[in-house]
């Protein structure tokens, strides 16, 4: 079984720096623990065999103060190395007032109950629960919330930061190597806090260009008959009241953007893998899979589910 400790497997310079700090603090703590426990154990072993009245020692100011020196030095040292990191990791855009420069975040991530909206500032594209970034580039991410407080966390790539309504937070996102990095919501945000996962895909330059290209391809019009029926259903049912599909009449942003849903790996914030079967299960009754989620059970017939799924599958 390959157990992984993402906090201990940093894949970005920032996560690496935190990891190094953590390891240093961990060693110090281990040292202190061994010293204190050792002293207690020795005192116990020696104290258990002593039967006569021990010396009534009321303490010594000098020893107390000497003892304090060690902890004070350690605490100061931890403080200083933490401070250095706090300052270097600050992602808040530099503003030179009085001429306020606009915040130049490349990515905006918005927490919703219980999914993540991802906006690519330069292309204007919008995705959900998947973030695509090029390898080796430090990207400033603006983190917001649409409802309650969430927390954006990709353990292998660095710190977490809360997504707070009415407030814009910033964080650096960078990956040193191509790969898929699990991210989660870390702040309790209600019923389905458990299923608010997302994935960061770090691509090498070629792959990234390909992804950008695919992302900009306009959707082909639907040809298959089942999918066509599904499309009709999508626009006649309440689906359009919440979702967007680029290039169509569906433009609402309450639920996740579905433009390239067929390409996503997971649905429902990680509750299911994205497969035709699972998509049908989801459409049949989302409440059975993610109880309490904001998408109601529309009581669709099996045939309708089939058609809708076929349509969504065609959104590649």
């Amino acid at each position: 079984m390959d157990i992984s400790f993402p906090v201990f497997q940093p894949e970005s310079p920032e996560a690496q720096a935190i990891f190094d700090l953590f390891v240093a603090v961990l060693w110090i703590s281990a040292g202190i623990f061994i010293i204190v426990t050792g002293l207690i154990v020795i005192a116990l072993i020696r104290g258990r065999v002593r039967v006569d009245l021990p010396k009534q020692d009321f303490g010594s100011h000098r020893r107390e103060i000497l003892w304090m020196v060690g902890p004070i030095i350690i605490v100061l040292w931890i403080g200083v190395i933490s401070m250095k990191l706090i300052l270097t990791m600050n992602a808040y855009p530099k503003v030179h007032p009085p001429h306020d420069a606009p915040a130049d975040a490349e990515l905006i991530v918005i927490g919703h109950q219980w999914w993540w909206e991802v906006r690519y500032n330069h292309s204007g594209r919008v995705g959900a629960n998947e973030i695509h970034i090029p390898v080796g580039k430090k990207i400033r991410v603006e983190v917001q919330s649409a409802d309650v407080i969430h927390s954006f966390w990709v353990p292998q790539l660095g710190r977490k930061i809360d997504a707070i309504p009415g407030r814009n937070n910033f964080i650096w996102l960078e990956a040193s190597r191509p790969g898929e990095y699990q991210g989660r919501c870390a702040e309790f945000c209600g019923n389905q806090h458990a299923w608010m996962n997302f994935t960061v895909y770090a691509h090498d330059p070629k792959e990234y260009a390909q992804w950008q290209h695919d992302e900009n391809v306009t959707l082909a019009s639907v040809t298959e008959s089942a999918a066509e029926a599904g499309e009709k259903l999508f626009f006649s049912q309440t689906c359009v009241n919440c979702h967007t599909i680029d290039g169509t009449a569906a433009t609402m942003t309450i639920g996740p953007n579905l433009t390239h849903i067929a390409r996503r790996k997971e649905i429902g914030g990680g509750v299911l893998q994205n497969s035709p079967d699972n998509l049908r299960r989801w459409l049949k009754n989302p409440q059975a899979i993610k109880p309490g989620c904001k998408m109601p059970n529309f009581n669709l017939s099996d045939e309708q589910v089939q058609q809708l799924a076929a349509y969504l599958e065609s959104l590649d």
Binding site: D2, I3, S4, L39, Q56, G59, E64, W67, V75, R167
Partner: protein, 741 residues
């Protein structure tokens, strides 16, 4: 003496509950109330423990459907709330109630009836909180109830309302209890017991009670604001309408972090008694242990934002709060050193109490060290809100509240009942808990490092997650078994335990000078108190402490009870108002406010006139006090009457102001100015009203000529409160009406 003690215990046990119950319910004896606190705590420990067990069952395997997410969220919310407010608080208060009067050689606490009231209020608050289950929705926003999740749009059911009211009620009980204990310690010490000579338990509990008085008011203001948001439609925490989502966190943790020390200090107190006795030595460096507790109280007020490092407070605030947090590790480190040094060179008896004390010490060091990791902000950014933090605070809190207090139970049970607990069962319980606790919580550190967030109702089947969670869940069985062993031990020992005698452990402090259990008046005679260990002096006259380590003599001056009470109450209320006013300042310094503001809506000259009436009432009250002191009933009654009339006129002025505002359609939900204005002024008016009621009572007493000199102190106490209400109004008036700041 011993046989007598056994008889009384036997009587306590064998008579039927029906005849025995009423004296308990109606009791104002600090020992009985203390025991009731402990029983309440045990009942809720079982309930909170069951909730925890259900949580662990749900998490034992991945993708479990044993509990619905809704149910899970209710359970972890109630688990946290119960353990903090209904297990921790009553347990530490119960022991303090029982022990403090005995340790300082007093007959009872300063205000026995207030003591009973505090207990029943707390119990009532607990019932209120659990009543929410009957309404179909227990609170489910977490014990921290972060806004805006806890506001109406996101938690529309009644659960959160019960949570707010339950906590507010319990908070009142806790503050009253804490003030009572402080007053007891300051005013009722036996002759010879100078404050420098009180047992460390008493000194540390004095600090803890002070902390309760200082820390609960911020929670009450936060609860008031949240309740006004939820029920009256204000928007303190609703960003869409100008509110501030982070403000709740500031207020909550301003209470929440000192609360951690409210739990840690009592365990330090217990350990500082247990370790010296079982090492047959005095505590090493009394002044350092006592002084470091003072430092903890002061520092604990400045570290709250370390719960908020993920919020994005900005580097400056993060660095300062990190520094403060690291700093608070030092006084705690001093204590660890002193306890270790006390054991060093001692002659150690490994009784069950001592075992629990040592386990506390070592586990607390683990919890403390992970705490230092969180003080290093970047590490916190990775690990906060994961299972690592769950492991961290359970190491701290279970060490403090459970392990240290198991030590307390084994140590003081003989005093409370006259019977010894079985050491054999005790050691069995110790090992069961040691295995169960570490098995459950140590692996949670690893889960945190694997990236498991806290408060999730289930998780995907990732490698290792299922296994570690299963280990964590399975270990709970040991803790349950250990608890059952303790209960069995208590029941068995009450009947068959060997008689304890007055001082089974050869302990040093005054509670061991009386019978076990102590008689209702506590002591028939007190030994001479010339040092911190009066019983040691008695047993070892040639090695008496006062010969080797002299302590400042008792000056025999004690503050008056009523005034001490009044000052403490005023301090607590002042903090409550300061936070309400802070919210006023925060929301009204925003320049982009829509709708009415202080300058457009308020009539300053008219209110200034009514302010004069209120301030004049302070002067007339002073005259009333002078009249009372001079023994002139007429002067007292006239001045008091005028005071009451002036107060009523002020309230009438407030009513006119409110009427005008409402006529202009300025209601509490109109905008943040209106919300903050009505909140601050109506809470002030409520206090004026309360003061008027108290004044009227004295006026009626005066009419009936039962105003004897013993009423001087209460009148003075009410006077302190009345002047305080006026001072608050001066501040309110300058900030709201005159726009200072």
């Amino acid at each position: 003496m011993t046989t007598q003690a056994i008889e009384s215990t036997a009587a306590l046990e064998t008579t039927l509950p029906r005849e025995r119950l009423l004296p308990w319910v109606a009791s104002v004896d600090h020992k009985q109330i203390g025991i009731m606190y402990m029983l309440l705590s045990v009942i809720f420990l079982i309930i909170g423990g069951l909730e925890a067990t259900l949580i662990r069952i749900q998490l034992a395997i991945p993708n479990n459907t044993f509990l619905s997410p809704e149910m899970f969220n209710q359970l972890f919310t109630m688990h946290g709330t119960t353990m903090v407010f209904l297990v921790g608080m009553p347990l530490v208060t119960g022991f303090a109630n029982y022990l403090i009067p005995l340790m300082i050689g007093a007959k009872d606490v300063a205000f026995p009836r207030l003591n009973a009231m505090s207990f029943w209020i707390l119990a009532f608050g607990g019932v209120l909180l659990y009543f929410s289950f009957l309404t179909g929705s227990a609170p489910n926003a977490g014990w921290f109830s972060y806004a805006p999740l806890s506001t109406k749009p996101y938690s529309s059911l009644l659960g959160v309302d019960y949570w707010i009211i339950g906590l507010a009620v319990m908070g009142v009980g806790s503050i009253a209890g804490a003030i009572n204990l402080i007053t007891t310690i300051l005013c009722l010490r036996a002759p010879g017991m100078s404050l420098q000579r009180v047992p460390l338990y008493v000194w540390i509990m004095l600090m803890q009670s002070l902390l309760v008085v200082l820390a609960i008011p911020p929670l009450n203001s936060a609860l008031a604001l949240l309740y006004i948001d939820r029920s009256l439609g204000a928007a303190f925490f609703e960003p869409a309408r100008g509110g501030n989502a982070v403000l709740w966190q500031h207020f909550f943790w301003l209470f929440g972090h000192p609360e951690v020390y409210v739990f840690a200090l009592p365990s330090f107190a217990v350990i500082s008694e247990v370790i010296p006795v079982f090492s047959r030595k005095p505590i090493y460096g009394y002044a350092f242990v006592a002084g470091s507790s003072v430092a903890i109280v002061l520092l604990s007020y400045g570290v709250w934002a370390h719960h908020m490092f993920a919020v994005g407070l900005g580097p400056a605030a993060e660095i300062f709060f990190a520094a403060m947090t690291l700093l608070i590790a030092i006084p705690t480190g001093i204590k660890i050193f002193n306890w270790t040094a006390t054991m060093w060179g001692g002659s150690i008896r490994l009784t069950t109490a001592m075992l629990f004390a040592i386990a506390f010490l070592i586990q607390f060091v683990i919890g403390g060290l992970t705490g230092v990791m969180f003080a290093s902000v970047p590490v916190d950014w990775q690990l906060t809100d994961t299972y690592f933090v769950v492991a961290h605070f359970h190491y701290v809190l279970i060490s403090c509240i459970v392990f240290a207090f198991f030590a307390a139970v084994y140590y003081w049970f003989p005093k409370m009942t006259g019977r010894m607990l079985s050491e054999r069962l005790g050691k069995l319980q110790f090992w069961l808990w040691l295995i169960g606790f570490n098995g459950t919580f140590f692996v949670q550190h690893l889960l945190g490092l694997m990236g498991m967030p806290r408060r999730v109702y289930t998780y995907a089947d990732l490698p290792g997650w299922g296994l570690l969670n299963a280990v964590s869940s399975a270990s709970v069985v040991f803790m349950i078994a250990g608890t059952l062993v303790l209960l069995w031990n208590i029941i068995r020992s009450l009947q068959h335990g060997s008689p304890a005698g007055n001082n089974p452990w050869n302990a040093y402090t005054l509670e061991w000078a009386t019978t076990s259990p102590p008689p209702p008046e506590n002591f028939s005679s007190l030994p001479e108190i010339k040092s911190r260990r009066p019983l040691w002096d008695l047993d070892n006259p040639e090695l008496a402490d006062w010969k080797f380590s002299s302590t400042p003599e008792d000056t025999l001056s004690r503050p008056t009870k009523a005034k001490t009470f009044a000052w403490l109450f005023v301090v607590s209320e002042a903090i409550f108002f300061v936070l309400l006013l802070a919210s006023y300042v925060i929301f009204n310094s925003q320049t982009d406010q829509q709708g009415p503001t202080a300058t457009t809506a308020l009539n300053v000259p008219r209110t200034a006139a009514f302010t004069v009436f209120l301030l004049a009432s302070s002067a007339t009250f002073w005259l009333a006090e002078q009249g009372l002191r001079a023994g002139s009933r007429i002067r007292f009654l006239t001045s008091l009457g005028v005071t009451i009339i002036l107060g009523v006129i002020f309230l009438a002025g407030q009513a006119i102001e409110y009427k005008g505002l409402l006529a202009n359609n300025i209601t509490i939900d109109r905008n943040l100015f209106a919300s903050t204005f009505f909140t601050v002024t109506s809470f002030h008016a409520l206090h004026v009203f309360g003061g008027l009621v108290a004044l009227s009572i004295f006026w009626i007493f005066g009419q009936q000529k039962i105003l004897t000199p013993r009423w001087h102190a209460p009148v003075q106490a009410v006077g302190i409160y009345w002047h305080f209400v006026d001072v608050v109004w001066i501040v309110v008036f300058s900030i709201i009406y005159l726009g200072v700041l």
